[in-house]
């Protein structure tokens, strides 16, 4: 039995090497495809797809094994979090949204297909009454349209199916949330941990820099960018990310500072652990729960920021985000109300879901809350 055990351990060590080799192989392959894409064939993959493949590979090769290693701990936290019904509900909604965004487009029509024949259709079960004045006859006739199952949420003034637009908007919001938050968290964590660990002058410099960035007029920057480059979702995401990291930096720094003086870190030092080991094995795992909570609670703000920008006209007109739909629908709230209400309701539920989940996670991770 010990022999078999030994073999497994042997393989396990090899797997470590295999992981790295696999990663390099996949990246090489991707690089080849990218080159082909640029120079030879026409657009094989969109930019986003490349990004997802890289992230996905990283997650599968490195993320999943370390998650598996701490599965008991994760189970413990999950048990604590799942007792909060609102949090579970929020998570369910988010998962549903993700599913919707991925598979939804397969079942709906093209959201950009304008069809003026079918414009301004109400949602299923609702009726729109319009009074139409016929100049020739001098009469008012009431024109009634009832929504059909073909367009369950109705259509907008250009005849585009609203359900399809909502689903595509879901994808936009989620991805904006993911990337903008990702950039902000990554920057914030890097600066926060560095400031905390280096301490002294560097800490001071980094924190003053953070303070200055906090006062930076994000909105003006955005208007500026739009003015120069035109409204482009990618730039919007980057700007939101580049200006949203300051809060995270502060929180991560203060948590890292308090961790640094915790006795188990001192014990590690006393055992002779290098700074790297302390940061990687002690600081980061203990900060991850904070990062998860911050990320979950930041996403709604990011989504709303993008929606608000689109609403006031700074958004990317080529992308059917919820904000853009809202913008289109706000003028006819008294007649074709569904065009504004649908994205509004979705935004509301999404923000609520992330907030509930974030609160639940924060309580689950806090050792002092008695769940």
């Amino acid at each position: 039995m010990t022999n078999r055990f030994k073999n497994i351990k042997h393989i396990a060590r090899k797997v470590g090497m295999v992981k790295n080799l696999a990663f390099i192989a996949v990246m090489a392959l991707l690089g080849v495809v990218l080159l082909l894409d640029i120079f030879v064939v026409e657009k094989i993959f969109g930019l986003l797809v490349y990004l997802y493949i890289v992230l996905g590979t990283l997650f599968i090769l490195y993320g999943i094994p370390s998650l598996y290693a701490s599965r008991r701990l994760i189970k413990y936290y999950w048990q604590r979090a799942s007792r909060n019904r609102l949090a579970v509900g929020g998570l369910a909604f988010i998962l549903f949204l993700i599913l919707l965004a991925i598979i939804g487009p397969l079942f709906t029509t093209d959201p950009t297909a304008a069809n003026f024949e079918e414009k301004n259709l109400p949602p299923v079960g609702f009726t729109l009454e319009e009074s139409v004045y016929d100049i020739k006859t001098g009469q008012f006739t009431t024109h009634r349209i009832t929504g059909t199952g073909e367009h369950p949420v109705g259509t907008d003034d250009k005849g585009r199916d609203l359900l399809a637009m909502i689903i595509s908007g879901a994808g936009v919001s989620l991805q904006v949330g993911l990337f903008a938050t990702g950039i902000a968290i990554a920057l914030g964590t890097l600066i926060g941990v560095t400031a905390a660990y280096l301490g002294g002058k560097m800490d001071n410099i980094l924190m003053r820099f953070t303070d200055i960035m906090m006062t930076f007029p994000f909105f003006l920057l955005l208007v500026f960018i739009v003015f120069i480059f035109g409204p482009n979702l990618v730039f919007i995401v980057i700007v939101i990310g580049l200006t949203g990291w300051t809060g995270t930096a502060r929180l991560i720094r203060s948590e890292s500072l308090s961790l640094r003086t915790r006795e188990f870190v001192m014990a590690s030092k006393a055992l002779g652990a290098s700074d790297n080991r302390i940061i990687l094995s002690h600081l980061i795992p203990n900060v991850i729960s904070l990062i998860i909570v911050i990320a979950t609670l930041s996403i709604p703000g990011v989504i709303l920021a993008e929606a608000a920008l689109s609403f006031i006209g700074l958004g990317d007109p080529n992308v059917a985000s919820w904000g853009m739909i809202l913008r289109a629908g706000q003028q006819n709230l008294d007649t074709t109300w569904w065009v504004a209400v649908a994205p509004g309701v979705m935004l509301f539920l999404t923000v609520l879901a992330f907030n509930f989940l974030g609160d639940g996670l924060r309580d689950a991770f806090d050792p002092r809350s008695n769940i």
């Binding site: 006795e263 188990f264 001192m266 014990a267 590690s268 002779g272 094995s281 203990n286």
Partner: protein, 321 residues
């Protein structure tokens, strides 16, 4: 048991600068440890007693170079370790270890017992997972835990068990000296007794030396061979255990001993110290204890008494002698 000195500390000082003002200039110093000298022999326990703020914890950490000494020398097995670089210190890490007071925060909550103890082994070269797991199991059994619980996280253990894991972690590298910083203060009485017995057993089995830091003199009495009393960053008395408890010389030691509630003696006359411990930012001139001393002499506020040997290794820093 050999008689040679394992650790020797000479005139050790640790000052913390206080910064203030717009440009963080230094405006003062907290003299946490202010000129401490002593030695510990192989296999012996030196008890270090004192109240909060006297600098005993800081002293323990400075010896381990977890804090950098401001002045003074630390010698381990004849080698001056005060100025060693981090790299050079690594070898030392296997020789001197530390146990902390709070079982709650002395273990990484995200690491299993196996990982916490295993880290010690990993840092010092035991890379084979299987070998480490085996050694961790041995250590766990030795400190009174079941090896099958190695996969548990700290929150799944009781305080006493966590403290045992902390001891196991310190033991893993086979040290010769362990600095025990209030190891039983946060535990219930019945668990205290268990842990103290464990430490005594380990001392016998492995020939360990302890620097046992505590504020509870009854605990110190139980485990120490020699005892040092600290006040405001300085050692005021140091002697064999029997000497200190039967014939305390320094007025502070007298007051401390009389302050201890004893279950078998009902109300006794005690020496009540007026006021409270002065701030280490601004210690009183001359002898630091003179402001509260019940046997103060006129010279006490002018000159600081040196720590002198008045016979048979009994050291006292007091003008009375």
């Amino acid at each position: 048991m050999l008689n040679h000195k394992l650790l020797e500390v000479e005139n050790l000082k640790k000052y913390y600068p206080i910064t203030g003002g717009l440009f963080a200039r230094q405006i003062g110093e907290v003299k946490a440890v202010d000129g401490v000298s002593f030695y510990i022999k192989e296999g012996e326990t030196l008890g270090l007693a004192g109240e909060s703020g006297c600098g005993k914890s800081t002293l323990g950490r400075t010896i381990l170079r977890l804090e950098e000494p401001t002045e003074g020398e630390i010698t381990y097995q004849g080698i001056n370790i005060t100025k060693l670089t981090k790299k050079e210190l690594r070898g030392l890490r296997k020789q001197i270890q530390i146990i902390f007071q709070d079982p709650q925060s002395s273990l990484d909550p995200r690491m299993t017992a196996n990982q916490s103890i295993g880290e010690a082994l990993l840092i010092h070269g035991m890379r084979d997972d299987q070998e480490r797991a085996k050694r961790v199991a041995e250590i766990l059994e030795r400190v009174g835990l079941e090896s099958r619980h190695a996969w548990r996280y700290p929150h799944e253990f009781s305080s006493g068990q966590r403290q045992r894991i902390g001891i196991g972690r310190a033991l893993a590298v086979n040290p010769k000296l362990i600095i025990a910083d209030e190891p039983v203060s946060a535990l219930d009485v019945s668990i205290q007794a268990q842990i103290l017995n464990l430490m005594l057993d380990l001392q016998k089995e492995f020939g360990l030396a302890y620097l046992f830091i505590a504020h509870d003199l009854s605990v110190i009495r139980q485990v120490s061979h020699r005892v040092a009393i600290m006040y405001l960053g300085k050692i005021v008395e140091l002697a064999e255990k029997g000497e200190i408890f039967q014939k305390p010389l320094h007025p502070y030691t007298e007051a401390l001993l009389s302050a201890i509630p004893n279950i078998r003696q009902k109300k006794k006359t005690r020496i009540l110290l007026p006021g409270s411990v002065p701030s280490p930012l601004n210690p009183p001139p001359g002898c630091r204890f003179h402001t509260r001393c019940h046997r103060v002499l006129p010279i006490c506020d002018k000159e600081e008494p040196p720590l002198k040997d008045i016979g048979e290794g009994h050291l006292v820093a007091c003008h009375l002698y």
